[in-house]
């Protein structure tokens, strides 16, 4: 081309650009291969696997309960939901019925985690569009919740709260009051964020009408969660196939209309409020009682036998016989519960394990290799509503003391498969907004 640009028409050429795997806007490691025509994205391809840590292979080499800590590392902004999902799948395989209080505890844990997940997603995607204040507000709110999770489980992120057949421990003293107080702060934060963003010209211009996802595409790609709901399909596993106690709780399933980035933001914001509502209802409904299966109602052996003879067997299946170590006074029917190799699935409480010889023995019976949790051979699939959508665990047992196979259906795997389609045809700058709103978590994507 000459100096003044008069001759030789400019040739329009496309070129390739790598975005990631180390890019400040690619939270998590992922590589986007973009074919650009100037500033427009002609074609895009996503390359994943940079955070593959062989979760599924590891799970095959650990006893059933020891897989729980690995599940923390799947979706690491809502680890409690992963813990719950895995344990529910194993419990479905083993045919265990959980105590009431345990179900409520798990729902509370899940919903706190869902709020932290959405706070991270909305905060981070707002920050990438320049709204740094929002990020700081939301991280502060998230930190308050993390501290409550820390009080509940002993860790902020690597929670490992559930066990097969129960949870680690009941709520600590004063947990409820403190959490409800924090909910007030979070509601205030959400209100502030809504005021800062929802009518913010810059934010709305970047989000509205960008990354539009049609209903048909969403269904064809198996997209679930907030992303599907933003496209107008009110599918929520908690509503469609209620598990734990979700059928007794009142909550709404917010849906969007256009399926663009702004709708996804609105859906997430509305969902947080619903999660707070769910936790408050749980506190009102939660009955007292044992938090794990092995801590279930203990009935004295003789009394249990008498009840059985009278035909009052309705509740006996869920109770355990309290018998003398010498089995004195116990009916023959109870022996199986006491001497069977699979008498217990869950660990005794720490007080019991450290305070009595029976507790210590039970503890070892569970943690020794070849003992403890041994579900019957077979397979089961259980889906829960994760932060990003349907989080499914497909577990296969061959009658051994460790899983034969654990397959995770990570919700954001399907969102990511769709991403190239969402960003193709748009601007490079819009990739950041769209990528932020699909909330990719590399831990669960790559496993």
């Amino acid at each position: 081309m000459t100096k003044h640009g008069t001759s030789a028409p400019r040739e329009l050429r496309s070129y390739l650009l790598n975005m990631g795997p180390a890019h400040p806007a690619m939270h998590g490691v992922i590589r986007l291969l973009l074919e650009l025509e100037g500033e427009k994205v002609a074609e895009a391809e996503a390359e994943i696997g940079y955070l593959h840590r062989a979760f599924e292979k590891h799970a095959e080499n650990e006893p059933w309960n020891n897989v729980v800590p690995w599940t923390d590392r799947l979706n690491y902004v809502s680890p409690l939901i992963n813990n719950v999902g895995y344990c529910l799948a194993v419990e479905k395989l083993a045919g265990l019925a959980l105590p009431e209080r345990c179900r409520y505890l798990r729902v509370i844990a899940c919903e706190i985690s869902r709020v932290t997940d959405h706070l991270t997603c909305v905060g981070a995607s707002a920050m990438e569009l320049g709204a740094f204040t929002v990020f700081l507000y939301m991280m502060k709110a998230r930190e308050q919740l993390y501290q409550m999770i820390d009080r509940l489980t002993g860790a902020r992120v690597t929670t490992s709260y559930t066990r097969v057949g129960g949870v680690k421990s009941d709520l600590p003293a004063g947990f409820q009051e403190q959490l409800l107080e924090i909910f007030g702060d979070i509601r205030r934060t959400l209100g502030e964020v809504e005021g800062l963003l929802s009518k913010n010209r810059i934010f709305v211009d970047r989000m509205a009408g960008v990354g539009v996802l049609s209903r048909e595409d969403a269904l064809a790609y198996g997209v679930t969660g907030p992303m599907l709901r933003s496209a107008g399909v009110p599918y929520d596993v908690r509503r469609a196939q209620p598990y734990l106690v979700y059928d007794r709780l009142e909550f709404e399933v917010p849906v969007g209309s256009t399926g663009d980035n702004f709708d996804r933001y609105l859906v997430r914001l509305a969902e947080m409020e619903q999660s707070l509502r769910i936790v408050e209802q749980c506190f009102r409904q939660m009955p007292p009682g044992p938090h794990s299966l092995s801590d279930q109602e203990l009935i004295e052996g003789g009394v249990m036998a008498d009840r059985g003879k009278r035909g009052e067997t309705g509740t006996l299946w869920s109770a355990a016989a309290q018998v003398d170590a010498t089995l004195e006074g116990s009916g023959r029917g109870c022996h199986s519960q006491v001497v069977a190799p699979k008498a217990d699935f869950t660990l005794p409480s720490k007080e019991e394990a450290y305070g009595s010889i029976e507790g210590l023995m039970r503890h070892f019976e569970v943690v020794m290799w070849g003992r403890g949790v041994i579900p019957p051979a077979g397979e089961a699939y259980f889906a829960v509503e994760g932060g990003n959508g349907e989080l499914g665990f497909h577990v296969v047992s061959d009658g051994g003391d460790r899983p034969y196979r654990v397959r995770v259906r990570p919700p954001c795997f399907f969102n990511m498969a769709l991403l190239p389609k969402l960003i193709a045809g748009g601007m490079v700058a819009d990739i950041v907004a769209t990528f932020g709103s699909i909330n990719m978590i590399a831990g669960e994507l790559d496993r």
């Binding site: 070849g370 497909h394 009658g399």
Partner: protein, 205 residues
């Protein structure tokens, strides 16, 4: 609600005896198919309302039942594989979702045993997300899909040797280190200068 008995019946009508068995009830129904009929069966089910492919995965049954034996547990677990050559079982998980109400009308899992390592036809044409799912199955298990000879790995890198979720892949196996494929990436201009020049001792002054 879609009744799985009726789904199975209609499958029997269209693909005959290739629909082998129906187990489980309700959302936990599992239909076992013959490998050759996977694509027509899935196409049929898609037509009858199962609009979402929720998941596709495989299980390697080559060491099934050894877990119980290893610890001397008194359980005999037979390997469900129908023949010696059948090692992998694929599971396609379908869901029928009412897009208006968001309620699940039905769920079904379709399973098939894979003959050797050659899997059934790809279902990419029915559901686009099957692309990544099939790539992952190839990556982790080495099961090929009949009409995808050039399938790429998904989570692992191209030079990875073996398929790690096979039961005979040792968990502590190390992979060879990989570098650039050829010398193109080296900077030829400075290559000689960067290497320390070795001078034989006797020639030192």
């Amino acid at each position: 609600m879609i009744s799985c008995e009726e789904v199975f019946k209609s499958l029997k009508e269209s693909i005959g005896d290739d629909a082998l068995s129906l187990e489980g009830t309700g959302f936990d129904s599992v239909i076992l198919l013959r490998q050759t009929s996977v694509h027509p069966a899935l196409e049929k089910l898609k037509g009858s309302g199962f609009n979402v492919l929720i998941d596709l995965t495989a299980v390697d049954y080559s060491q099934y039942g050894q877990g119980a034996q290893r610890h001397g547990l008194p359980v005999e677990v037979p390997n469900p594989a129908p023949r010696r050559g059948c090692r992998f079982k694929l599971t396609y998980r379908l869901m029928s979702l009412d897009a208006g109400t968001g309620l699940v009308e039905g769920r079904v899992a379709l399973q098939c045993w894979v003959e050797g390592e050659q899997g059934p036809l790809s279902v990419q044409d029915l559901w686009p997300n099957a692309d990544w799912l099939e790539r992952e199955v190839w990556d982790m298990f080495g099961v090929r899909f009949a009409d995808r000879p050039e399938i790429k790995r998904l989570l692992l890198y191209e030079q990875f040797e073996g398929h790690p979720l096979r039961k005979d892949y040792p968990i502590n196996k190390r992979q060879p280190l990989i570098g650039p494929k050829d010398d193109h990436s080296r900077d030829r201009m400075t290559e000689g200068d960067l290497r320390p020049r070795l001078v034989p001792r006797d020639k030192e002054s």
